[in-house]
């Protein structure tokens, strides 16, 4: 079931076309990743889904309803730039934000107490947000996003600025939400998190969607055209390789993407001549490689056009 349906939307700010004819759908109960370099139009798209901005053309429907104040209640949104009222008490603040999402006072109190308890934050209820540490206020921010129990969660760059522990907690909560049948959409440029969590992806570049679909299918469509090479010795032979792109290179490891259908055996031969090979593996390209190559090709195409 299409829970979020984005249909050929476009949004311009003055002469700058921030989002250009983008379409995608998010299925219920799945985690959808919005990827792309900075300025690709992810945040603008997310704001349009949240009905903060209106698209110039095209349409967005949530659960079949046109984006509107009514659909805003179905979504819990955590923007990239997070913030709370510093001079307001945690409890009052959560109550206010939850009520704004349309929850009645009684259920709001109950939900807030539940989540504060779950995050071991019940003691902070009477504290002003300004007194809390950064990690603590991030938890409060998160509670503010989810307390009204929406079906859809949208996080814009949720992992940016989180320490590893909070980052792990957030990951767990997201996976937990998914297991409850909730739908999650988040944007990021941290590829390893996408690989670990996302079911579907949409890759943005310069306002356009350049690649989208089920993450496994996207990866397998690139074929096993990548070599993971572990070696010992002089790695300078890697520089002699032609028609390859090398990622993740270190003193004894390289991820080699083979271009133009070149024979991998030739690369292996060259490697054996120069270094001691510990591992030579044919794999699907990493998402990082897909990201870089797709965006790179797209930029090249734009330059030619």
């Amino acid at each position: 079931m299409d829970i979020i349906k984005v249909d050929s939307i476009a949004k311009a700010f003055g002469k700058n076309l921030a989002v250009n004819n983008v379409s995608f759908t998010v299925q219920k109960g799945r985690i959808f990743g919005l990827l792309g370099p900075n300025g690709a139009g992810k945040t603008t798209t997310i704001r349009m889904i949240n009905n903060i901005l209106a698209p110039d053309t095209g349409s967005i429907t949530i659960n079949g309803i046109e984006a509107s104040p009514q659909t805003q209640k179905m979504i819990g949104y955590m923007p990239e730039e997070r913030g709370l009222y510093k001079k307001m008490k945690v409890g009052e603040q959560l109550l206010y934000l939850t009520q704004l999402k349309g929850m009645d006072t009684k259920s709001a109190h109950k939900a807030i107490d539940f989540w504060l308890d779950r995050f071991d934050a019940s003691d902070w209820k009477k504290k002003e947000v300004g007194e809390l540490s950064k990690g603590m206020s991030q938890k409060i921010q998160f509670i503010a996003t989810i307390a009204h129990d929406p079906d859809i969660y949208i996080f814009d760059e949720p992992f940016s600025g989180l320490d590893p522990i909070n980052s792990e907690t957030l990951k767990e909560v997201i996976i937990d939400l998914k297991s409850q049948g909730k739908t999650i959409l988040f944007s990021t440029h941290r590829m390893e998190q996408v690989e670990q969590m996302c079911d579907d992806i949409c890759l943005f570049n310069k306002g356009k969607s350049v690649l989208q679909g089920d993450l496994r299918q996207v990866k397998s469509s690139f074929g096993k055209n990548t070599i993971n090479l572990e070696f010992e010795g002089d790695g300078s032979f890697l520089d002699k390789l032609e028609d390859v792109r090398i990622n993740n290179r270190s003193t004894n490891f390289a991820e080699i993407r083979v271009l133009n259908g070149q024979n991998m055996q030739d690369i292996l031969k060259l490697a054996i001549e120069h270094a001691e090979i510990h591992k030579f593996e044919r794999v699907q390209p990493s998402l990082n490689e897909i990201f870089i190559s797709t965006v790179g090709e797209d930029n090249l195409k734009n330059q030619e056009a």
């Binding site: 700010f13 003055g14 903060i52 923007p79 709370l84 009222y85 001079k87 704004l100 503010a144 996003t145």
Partner: protein
């Protein structure tokens, strides 16, 4: 428009501010200052002239001193028997404030006597000595020149102006000066309220931007709802403060005269029973305080005009707050707000001087100055009802227009960070949305 959400925003805006120390203190301290002011009025009116100065009279005529003594016994002392040197010594040692030598020539030819004084004289001191001496000399000359009683009466009559205002209900005692002063003060209060609370609103908008909470709010509430909620929240806050002031003012103005009688009772009785002639006018008259009681309708207008003025100006303040990232950046946009608001403030004095001039009528109808100037006129004069109505209609229309533009700037501005926009860019925002 979701009024439930507007109310939630309003409630938060109001409750977080009404509980602050600054608000509570300024709300409660102002009535205390008012009490102090009234006490000063009472004290000044009971004590009459501040210090009693003594003037020694060396009376060579033998008739002028008794007349001076009759006019103001406290001030004049007969030192005719003492030698001039010792009188001078008294003045230098400040036992006397000054002395006058009165010879026959002053009665005969009308020469000017000389007041010799030490220390500080003070204009009112010299002036009153001059008046009293003139009266004494004149009376003496009249009595000597054997004129008819009729002429004597003419000279003794001291015409004063009693001001009485003609209204439809008939003649009423008029407190024109008090009305003008009240009008001025109410105008200034609205000026301060518009400016002060407009700035509070502006800071509140900037705070939400710099806190970055505004995007979270925008995912629940339409920008226009947020803006209206904030506007109304601050407006109710200001009205709360004014209401406390008005209620304490009305209470004080009713209670002041009886309390004054209680505290100063004996003194008032003393003054009223013993003082005669000129002295009694210096005594305390509780009626001085009764004129502080004013028609409560004026406060209804006060709140109404503040409300309308606040809606107009705060819409602009909110738009400015949304357009910038920090308070320092607001300056270039403040000019268009400052000009009309300060104009209203500065015109206020002129309007009090002549509240019925066509200039005053214009200023009180022009929607950007009318919140300040109309209330001054209402307090100072009889404003035709149609003028009040017209000014209200004009303000509502202006609010609608300004709100329409301000809401567009607000909507774009709250999500815009970075370089502060130019006027050209603001125009672009308005066209864009």
């Amino acid at each position: 428009m979701d009024f439930g959400k507007i109310f939630l925003v309003l409630k938060r805006e109001y409750l977080t501010r009404v509980r602050t120390k600054a608000f509570i203190l300024s709300t409660l301290l102002t009535p205390l200052a008012l009490v102090a002011l009234m006490a000063v009025v009472i004290i000044v009116s009971t004590s009459g002239s501040d210090s009693v100065k003594t003037v020694g009279i060396i009376d060579e005529t033998g008739v002028l001193y008794p007349r001076l003594e009759e006019i103001n016994a406290e001030r004049y002392e007969d030192v005719s028997m003492q030698p001039l040197d010792s009188v001078k010594a008294h003045v230098l040692s400040e036992q006397l404030d000054g002395y006058i030598v009165l010879g026959d020539s002053f009665i005969d030819s009308g020469d000017s006597p000389t007041l010799v004084y030490g220390g500080s004289g003070g204009l009112s001191f010299i002036g009153s000595v001059q008046d009293e001496l003139r009266d004494a000399v004149r009376d003496e000359r009249i009595s000597r020149s054997n004129v008819s009683d009729e002429i004597r009466e003419i000279f003794e009559a001291r015409p004063r102006i009693e001001s009485v205002k003609l209204t439809e209900q008939g003649e009423e005692e008029d407190h024109a000066i008090f009305g003008a002063a009240l009008g001025f003060i109410l105008g200034v209060l609205i000026f301060i309220g518009l400016f002060g609370y407009g700035a509070v609103l502006m800071r509140s908008v900037i705070e939400e931007k710099t806190n970055r909470i505004v995007e979270v709010i925008a995912s629940s509430v339409k920008p226009i709802e947020l803006m209206l909620g904030k506007l109304m929240g601050i407006c109710v806050l200001a009205i709360t403060q004014f209401a406390v002031w008005i209620v304490s003012y009305i209470g004080l103005s009713i209670a002041a005269a009886p309390i004054a009688v209680m505290i100063f009772g004996e003194k008032i009785d003393d003054l009223n029973s013993t003082a005669t002639g000129a002295a009694s006018s210096q005594g305390f008259d509780p009626a001085v305080l009764e004129q502080f009681q004013v028609d409560p309708m004026i406060f209804v207008y006060f709140i109404l005009f503040f409300f309308l003025g606040f809606m107009i100006y705060s819409a602009i303040f909110a738009a400015i707050g949304a357009a910038v990232d920090s308070e320092q950046d607001t300056q270039q946009f403040m000019i268009p707000v400052m000009i009309p608001i300060f104009m209203g403030y500065m015109l206020n004095m002129k309007i009090i001087e002549d509240p019925d001039s066509s200039f005053a009528v214009f200023a009180s109808l022009f929607p950007l100055t009318s919140p300040i100037n109309m209330i001054s006129r209402i307090a100072a004069t009889e404003v035709p009802f149609w003028e009040i109505l017209l000014s209200i209609v004009l303000m509502i229309g202006t609010f609608a227009g300004i709100m329409w533009l301000a809401a567009k700037i607000y909507r774009v501005g709250i999500l815009m960070y970075g370089k502060k926009p130019s006027y050209k860019e603001l125009a672009k925002w308005i066209r864009q949305s």
